[in-house]
Amino acid sequence: MRESSSQLAGLRKRIARLATDGGPASRPAEGRLASGHAQFDAALGGGLAVGRYHEFFAADALDGTSAAAFAALLALRTPGQAPLIWLRTTDSANRAGHIYAPGIAELGGDPDRLLLVETPDPKMLLACANDAIRCTGSAAVIVESWGKFPLLDLTAGRRLTLGARDAGTTLLMLRLNAAPAPSAAETRWSVSAAASREREANAPGAPAFDLELLRWRAGPAGGCWRLDWNHDDKSFGPASGEAALSGALLPLAARRAALPHGAAAA
């Protein structure tokens, strides 16, 4: 009797310790993946937290390239030679296209930092993602999935979150052709392509992205930004010119009261 009560006390103590230390937000992030866009970074307290799990939804099936490029550029902005691990399923090359290194080089990224892993099915994708985020030394891990991803439930998401937190690896989950749903992610984004700034002779300009913050664990959601990529100084910047046309897309105040939208998504 005595022995069992001491065991119980031990277990209670352990639970208490887990409760104080266990939350993904309990340990401060080791750094930030900054975009270079001043307002965007300021609203997020310096950028996307390193060692966390972030989700990027393509607003439409055709916006997959924008979402992928945004995540890749954000990770490749970091200085150094740390590799970017990109996991995708084999059939995604037919759906979204092959990742094209000359295009990444023209965007100012270094394709030599890219480690491409193609898995035969989504199950293996998740298993490899779990291994990849537990490996320190990568700039970020991008996991690209197509359509509904029933294997990525709350348990799997939580496992990824803990893995990313323990190793200090940033997980950028690309969800193409999928509808945003509750998950364990720190931030959830909707990315779509934006009209680029016109150049002479009606030519399309630098890549432009529309971002909407759907959910943020550490603060209010609901911000919208339009970002232009500038490959010369390798940073995102505010869109100019054309942005005036779409008036509703002004950046929102950073620290507002939490929106019901954000609370509902949690």
Binding site: A69, G97, I99, G103, C128, T136, G137, A194, P207, W229
Partner: protein, 449 residues
């Protein structure tokens, strides 16, 4: 004889379709099983195996014991075996296939072989027999120059090889690995888990041998020999030379987990061998204080593990290829064996990218409406949806690589970078100029960020 005739003569005839590929695969499995006798086993397709047993026969109580063991195991697998020992590979082969009469010694046995053992063309063999030269011995007593003049150089070479005057090199199925460790068991091991423990011990031994040479292993091959005569080989590779037993065993465990058909001990393993076929120099390393080496090592191990789990072709690095054909401008090479990186072309300052982020290979056909036939696209239909073009740039003209093609053929492509009204950017091209082709088709080749 036609099959119908054969069936009429033997009503209970069992007919099986001849499948040379399956036969060869089976011979290959037998050869792997025969690796237990000697690391050097050559296939003598379609139905023979040649083993180099020099220095290995004492393990089986002499040559006779070795032959007996081979015949016993192969006949248990349902094979009928003819075996022979010879001083050279060709002599042994000829003795196994053509010996009909017993002989007091090896030399006599070879001399008593029929001339058919030379395996010349049927006509040449008939000529030899008509000339009264029935055995190898008859032929060997004649001057070699006369034989070459009368029956061709190939007859002389074949004769010299059988007699051992000319070298008859063996082409082993697997080369002799530089480092090898093996263990034989008196009682077969019934469990795979136990076999893996033994493998870990062997890995320790092999890595000890590597350390003595100042080398590290890049490729490890474990072969599990079953008591029924067959064997199973499992291989792992690492991206950098290693002497880490733990790493090698983790890779083996990873590989075993992903095997389509798991390691089956059958009636037990009676021998396990670990070979290290590929070595690289590896000096003693020191960890950096700032931890750089540790991080790189963690990354290398991840690459090794992913490669072991998924296969070489699925863990890739992208490399420059020197061509202007877009779909050939990058090479996806296995990350485990990737050459040192070559710098990529730096982007033009202030210019938007001219190459897409995602590339379709092969390009996907689209339907395009253009204002004038060779003008830029105005609307296009891709994946059942219409896209109205708002901005465009082009054409960028890319010619086919006529200097690589014999017929100088190949169509010129006119690439357009277009943006639709929703702000998505596409890379379209018209395959062929109007003076090259009457009605050139349009394709989408990539998507820009």
């Amino acid at each position: 004889m036609p099959l119908a005739d054969a069936r009429a003569r033997v009503p209970g005839l069992i007919v099986v379709t001849h499948d040379p590929v399956a036969d060869h695969a089976w011979l290959d499995r037998l050869a792997l099983g025969c690796n237990r006798y000697s690391p050097l086993v050559a296939l003598d397709a379609p139905c023979g195996l040649i083993l180099d047993i020099a220095g290995a026969e004492h393990l089986f109580a002499g040559e006779a014991g070795l032959l007996e063991d081979i015949e016993m195991r192969l006949s248990r697998l349902g094979m009928s075996v003819r075996s022979a020992l010879g001083p050279t590979a060709d002599a042994a082969r000829a003795l196994a296939r053509y010996q009909t009469r017993p002989a007091p010694d090896e030399e006599q046995a070879i001399r008593r072989l029929p001339v058919a053992a030379l395996e010349l063309e049927a006509e040449a063999t008939t000529t030899l027999v008509r000339a009264g030269l029935r055995t190898i011995g008859d032929l060997a007593s004649r001057p070699m120059a006369n034989i070459a003049a009368r029956f061709g150089a190939s007859a002389a070479t074949a004769l010299r090889r059988i007699l051992g005057d000319a070298p008859s090199p063996l082409d082993p199925r697997i080369g002799l690995p530089p480092v090898m460790a093996e263990r034989r068991f008196a009682e077969p091991l019934g469990s795979s888990a136990h076999a893996i423990k033994i493998l870990a011990e062997l890995a320790g031994e092999a890595i000890g041998a590597l350390a003595e040479r100042g080398k590290g292993g890049r490729h490890f091959r474990a072969t599990f020999f079953r008591s029924d005569g067959l064997a199973r080989s499992i291989e792992v590779e690492t991206g950098h030379a290693t002497r880490d037993t733990g790493l090698v065993m983790r890779l083996f465990a990873e590989r075993m987990d992903t095997l389509a058909d798991p390691l089956d001990p059958g009636f037990g393993f009676d021998m396990i061998r670990l070979a290290v076929p590929r070595l690289d120099p590896l000096g003693a390393g020191q960890l950096k204080l700032e931890g750089g080496a540790v991080r790189e090592a963690a990354m290398d191990e991840l690459v090794d593990r992913m490669t072991t789990r998924l296969g070489r072709g699925r863990v890739k690095k992208l490399m420059v290829a020197d061509t202007h054909i877009p779909e050939q401008a990058q090479l996806a090479l296995p990350a485990i064996d990737a050459p040192p990186p070559v710098p990529w072309q730096a982007p033009e300052p202030g210019e938007p990218p001219t190459r897409p982020f995602h590339l379709f290979d092969p390009p996907q056909p689209i339907e395009v409406i253009a204002e004038v036939p060779d003008g830029p696209p105005q609307r296009f239909r891709w994946r059942r949806a219409f896209h109205a073009v708002r901005r465009y740039e082009g054409p960028e003209r890319i010619a086919a690589e006529w200097w690589r093609r014999r017929d100088n053929a190949g169509l010129t492509r006119d690439y357009y970078r277009v943006e639709d009204v929703q702000g998505r950017r596409y890379w379209l091209f018209r395959h062929g100029l109007y003076d090259e082709k009457p009605d050139p088709r349009w394709y989408i080749h990539g998507l820009f960020a």
